[in-house]
């Protein structure tokens, strides 16, 4: 696990840290895992950290005064500090959630709840005449919660369209973001196209009108250096399991003054100030948004994942994936009948490569790839409107991470050719 030179990862050494990559699939085929966009594999360090917490320090955090409770609470809060530092934030601005989806819902429901909250919390309320702006490339997780918020409150949902080459269409930026805009929610990096969006430009326009900006970092935080101070966003959400961390933990980062002014989403134990039979007050953030016994072992595991990535160097991670993406676009793009859905270049583009193979449905492509041990995602990848926009029913998506190699990309291209051979769609030579 070493970075031998800038921009290079020793992927073979990295692979040795991931026990699952040594197994075979489908009758002895070596595993070629190209589905990290859905979920990543976990290095031993992450598994060990979680296990050690359970074996040595397990207790309910922020409860009890015994030694284990102290140790568990310390480990949980230390994890928060590590994860905060990974994105250039302070610990008090990091809220743990179940995943990125829940983090988006936390903000959407807080905005919905603001209408009926006490006066200081009303500033987040939206209603008729207000607008929420999203994009046509959003994952359903950053689309449906806003549709629902608008439906409940009478606010209007608007969205940026996409260009033919897989980028945000900013031609109507000035029309879309205006004095009625309350919030702009967008993907930092598309989980289908790989496109990295110009967040600063959009955030600057939004902030001119006092609108908030929520960034879906589920596909960016695991793959590139992300510093919340540089982004210009007000909220950032991401999931632990897509960045070598455990399942069941996600993060909402929010500017401290915003979190302090937001009403809660989920209520219950731990998030309260004082409770009477008649009513309750709320704790300060981040506890206000962490009702119930939190996922301390997963927080510790995610912190270990952040350390692992920091040791590799996020610049190196990004450069490594850039290399693989470039190679994949070249190899796949060179196959007759393959159409890449997303930018054909690698400028502002991450390592998700979605494509169609003429005459073969993605489910069938995926089946042949799986038979070769190549594990990819097929379907609409929770981005149905995006697929409709490009007039494709579904796509096959390969996504890369730190443990993927040039050989993996070659296995992918060979398996696509095999699918063409199997279904008899290979163009005659």
């Amino acid at each position: 696990m070493t970075a031998t030179e800038p921009g290079r990862l020793d992927a073979e050494a990295v692979r040795a840290d991931f026990p699952i990559l040594a197994r075979t699939v489908r009758d002895g085929r070596p595993l070629v895992y190209l589905d990290s966009g859905a979920t990543s594999q976990k290095p031993r360090r992450v598994l060990d950290a979680e296990r050690e917490f359970y074996e040595r320090h397990n207790a309910a955090v922020h409860r009890g005064a015994h030694q284990l409770a102290e140790e568990a609470t310390d480990a949980y809060e230390a994890a928060r500090a590590t994860i905060a530092s990974f994105i250039g934030a302070v610990p008090g601005e990091v809220v743990f959630t179940k995943n990125a989806t829940e983090a988006v819902n936390l903000v959407a429901y807080a905005m919905g709840n603001a209408a009926t909250a006490d006066e200081p919390y009303r500033r987040f309320a939206v209603g008729p005449g207000d607008e929420v702006v999203v994009t046509e490339m959003e994952h359903h997780a950053n689309l449906v919660p806003w549709q629902e918020l608008c439906r409940r409150t009478g606010a209007t949902l608007r969205w940026f369209g996409l260009t033919e080459d897989g980028r945000l269409d900013l031609s109507d930026l000035d029309g879309l973001i205006n004095e009625r805009t309350k919030l702009v929610a967008l993907a930092h990096q598309s989980n289908v196209l790989g496109t990295v969006n110009p967040v600063r430009e959009i955030a600057e326009r939004a902030h001119r009108f006092g609108a908030l900006v929520l960034l879906d970092g589920a596909q960016s935080v695991p793959h590139m250096p992300v510093d919340v101070a540089d982004l210009g966003a007000d909220f950032l959400v991401f999931s632990g399991h897509k960045m070598l961390g455990p399942n069941g933990i996600g993060v909402l980062w929010g500017r401290a003054e915003l979190l302090a002014a937001m009403p809660p989403f989920i209520t219950g134990g731990s998030m309260i100030g004082v409770v009477h039979m008649e009513g309750s007050t709320w704790a300060d953030p981040p506890q206000r948004f962490e009702a119930g016994v939190p996922m301390a072992p997963q927080a510790v595991g995610l912190a270990a994942a952040c350390d692992y990535l920091s040791d590799l160097g996020m610049e190196n991670v990004a450069a490594h994936e850039h290399l693989l993406t470039e190679y994949a676009i070249k190899l796949l793009g060179g196959i007759d009948g393959v159409r890449i859905v997303g930018p054909a270049d690698t400028v502002d583009r991450g390592g998700a490569v979605s494509f169609t193979v003429e005459g073969i449905h993605p489910h069938d492509v995926g089946q042949v790839l799986d038979d070769q041990g190549v594990e990819v995602r097929v379907g609409h990848h929770c981005a149905w409107p995006l697929h409709r926009r490009y007039q494709v029913q579904a796509t096959t998506r390969a996504s890369f991470y730190v443990y993927n190699t040039v050989a993996d990309v070659e296995a992918l291209a060979a398996a696509v050719r095999e699918a063409q051979r199997f279904f008899g769609t290979a163009p005659a030579l």
């Binding site: 069938d364 089946q367 379907g379 029913q393 199997f422």
Partner: protein, 171 residues
């Protein structure tokens, strides 16, 4: 080898040359089903002919027609299904559906009854792949819905008509 076991020649034949594709009239029931994981869709129509005075399980499946988009398994399954069902009674069709459903959930262990399922036994290999079961069942479930609609429409027609009380989704 494993692929050949799943993609039997008969499946690929039906995929390339689907039978009974294209929506037709007359029809009493129409169902639109979508597989939400991949977006595959089928719109399927059923035309029943009563055996006696009223439509019931003894009615004949006079026609099944459909429009669809999807993978080879879903397309071939729809095509094979129409060949099997047209000319049978509704009761016979429902028995086939149950039998096919059971086969699909057999995790590759099922021993399909060729007397009941005929060409549909070719889909036995699909049951080893949980992600593909829905593909094979999509048209069958649409047929079930459209058939139930047809039967309900008939019984609604027999009762005294009330304004606006007609079944929805029937064109």
């Amino acid at each position: 080898m494993r692929l050949d076991a799943m993609y039997q020649e008969i499946i690929l034949d039906h995929y390339r040359n689907p039978h009974n594709k294209g929506l037709r009239d007359p029809h009493e029931g129409e169902a639109h089903h979508i597989n939400p994981t991949c977006g595959d869709e089928v719109t399927l129509r059923v035309h029943l002919e009563p055996s006696g005075a009223s439509l019931d399980g003894g009615a004949t499946v006079a026609d099944v027609s459909y429009e669809s988009m999807g993978c080879s398994i879903s397309q071939a399954s729809a095509s094979v299904m129409t060949d099997l069902l047209i000319g049978r009674t509704v009761d016979e069709g429902m028995k086939m559906l149950d039998s096919f459903n059971e086969l699909m959930h057999s995790k590759g262990q099922g021993e399909p009854d060729e007397d009941v399922l005929e060409d549909a036994v070719a889909f036995a290999g699909v049951s080893k792949y949980p992600a593909r079961i829905k593909c094979a069942l999509l048209a069958w479930m649409a047929w079930k819905d459209a058939t139930v609609q047809s039967l309900e429409k008939q019984s609604a027609d027999e009762e005294p008509r009330q304004a606006g009380a007609g079944p929805e989704g029937v064109s």
